[in-house]
Amino acid sequence: MKPLSIPERLAKNRFKLDEQESHIEVNQEIARATGTGKAIVACCPAHVYAEEPDGTISVEYAACLECGTCLAVAAPGALKWHYPRGGFGVQFREG
């Protein structure tokens, strides 16, 4: 099988983007101080999180596959993460 980048893999999925509301919010100070920033970059299968040159964590919420792994590894207060609003987000066709 041809190796695909993560964006190429995500392009095979169907997403219904909520353009009005992000379901993810990073507290940059806590994320930096606790190491949560690096941890969520490494553990997210969809590469939702990226560390910017200035050390802040950027969030591409539209790519989220809604597994909740980031929330599980995040230090208290570092991450606000809930499910997207009803009907939005990834809509699997296989599962």
Binding site: P3, A42, C43, A46, H47, E66, V73, G87, F92, G95
Partner: protein, 425 residues
């Protein structure tokens, strides 16, 4: 009912068949659209609920071949267990959840369940009672929906079980992340590659180099005309070793013993899922006044190293929950005490007893050496046996002793792991 997965749909279906009024709320566009499993479903439990299951439900293949292997960088040692008895009666099937859950939801509707898709439950509604908080319904947007009993079937992240304190933040050794690709391949290619006939299927489970030594494993399950291929890695070990999960997945897909299975395939879908790995230790309170939790939301999964179970436990918990709720409603007491029948019935069922039987499995599977040293040791013993290098042969025991000398494994670890493994598994 919050969540139209297996646990939610089966609970809803059973309650509707008792003549109860059931509302099933699902945040996805339709039932199944947020759901993902590995996924092998052990079917006996669900067949008791739906006797027509194997004939009518959209199952992929009947699993008759279990291939379990220690995978090293350049070698692999496996048990390849094929048995026609696993096909008749059927024991397990590969499933794709979007199709399966849509079918389950259809059954629910036929039985009279009202399904509300595309709606996210934001919080539970509670009321202060004599014995503390009582759940009286849920809020979704501006809508307040009230019920005698709320069932949290909202998956491993169960926000509503956490909100009311039935679940807490889990330690990372109780959780794993699963990453999976569904790879399309022609039917006959799959049957040739996995040595299958007709609708027979294979479940390949590997530990070792497939996860670069991180606690967990890899899998390939055969669907009708696709493969589900993925890894599951424990979060405590992943974060401690500072590995990037997608690098591990790529390493698995490109492994010289895995890549040939996937050759020529086209990616159909890429997904992931948080997996409860704590077993019995994760299961706390599963009932409170006016509410109970089922399936993944209750932490019900079981990894015994050989079988990996979740969906059949969801079915068993759903059946027990529907019975417990039914008798609570009949008595007009849906307090925690009134709903206690759920817990009793679940732990009296085969699934609940299995949770207890395998209570020591998670700790055993946390042993670091399972994911590197054992696979290499087994391969070294076999290499010493098969590699006829023009030197005189030695008996197997001597070959094993020599391999052990070169391995970080100690004799006492072999003995203690053997005993612990036999007890845990």
């Amino acid at each position: 009912m919050v969540g139209a997965g297996i646990a939610g749909c089966v609970t809803a279906y059973q309650l509707a068949r008792q003549g109860r009024s059931v509302l099933l709320i699902e945040r996805g566009e339709s039932a199944g659209s947020k759901n993902l499993s590995g996924g092998v479903l052990y079917t006996r439990g669900i067949q008791q609920v739906f006797p027509e299951f194997l004939d009518e439900a959209p199952v992929e293949r009947r699993i008759t071949r279990n291939y379990v292997s220690f995978l090293n960088a350049g070698s692999s040692v496996a048990i390849d267990y094929k048995d026609s008895r696993l096909a008749d009666p059927v024991n397990a099937v590969a499933v794709l959840r979007v199709k399966l859950d849509a079918w389950l939801a259809g059954r629910c509707e036929e039985a009279g369940v009202l399904i509300m898709p595309g709606v996210r439950v934001d919080r539970v509604l509670t009321q202060d009672g004599a014995a503390g908080k009582r759940v009286v319904g849920v809020q979704a947007g501006d809508d307040e929906l009230r019920a005698h009993v709320v069932v949290a079937a909202d998956g491993v992240n169960s926000f509503i079980a956490k909100e009311v304190g039935l679940r807490k933040q889990e330690p990372l050794n109780h959780l794993a992340v699963g990453v999976k690709s569904v790879v399309s391949l022609p039917r006959d290619t799959i049957e040739a590659r996995f040595n299958l006939t007709g609708d027979e299927g294979a479940a390949v489970a590997v530990v070792g180099d497939c996860t670069e030594g991180v606690g967990g494993g890899g899998f390939i399950y055969t669907n009708t005309d696709s493969l589900s291929v993925g890894i599951v890695v424990r979060l405590d070990d992943l974060t401690a070793k500072q590995k990037v999960v997608t690098d591990i997945f790529d390493h698995f897909l490109e492994h010289r013993f895995i890549a040939p299975y996937l050759k020529g395939g086209e990616l159909a879908e890429y997904g992931c899922h948080l997996v409860a790995e704590g077993g019995m230790e994760m299961i706390g309170e599963i009932t409170m006044d006016g509410m109970l939790v089922v399936g993944d939301a209750a932490g019900l999964t079981l990894n015994t190293g050989l079988t990996v179970r979740g969906m059949d436990l969801a079915v068993a918990s759903a059946v027990a929950a529907a019975e417990g709720i039914g008798s609570a409603l009949d008595r007009g007491d849906t307090s925690k005490a009134g709903l206690a029948g759920y817990r009793e019935r679940f732990f009296a069922s085969y699934a609940g007893q299995d949770m207890k039987t395998y209570a020591r499995a998670p700790a055993f599977l946390e042993l670091e050496r399972m994911y590197k040293h054992y696979g290499e040791f087994f391969a070294d013993v076999l290499y010493g046996t098969f590699n006829l290098d023009a030197r005189p042969r030695r008996h197997l025991l001597k070959v094993a002793r020599k391999a052990l000398k070169h391995s970080p494994l100690k004799t006492r670890q072999l003995v203690s792991d053997g005993i612990a493994g036999a007890r845990a598994l």
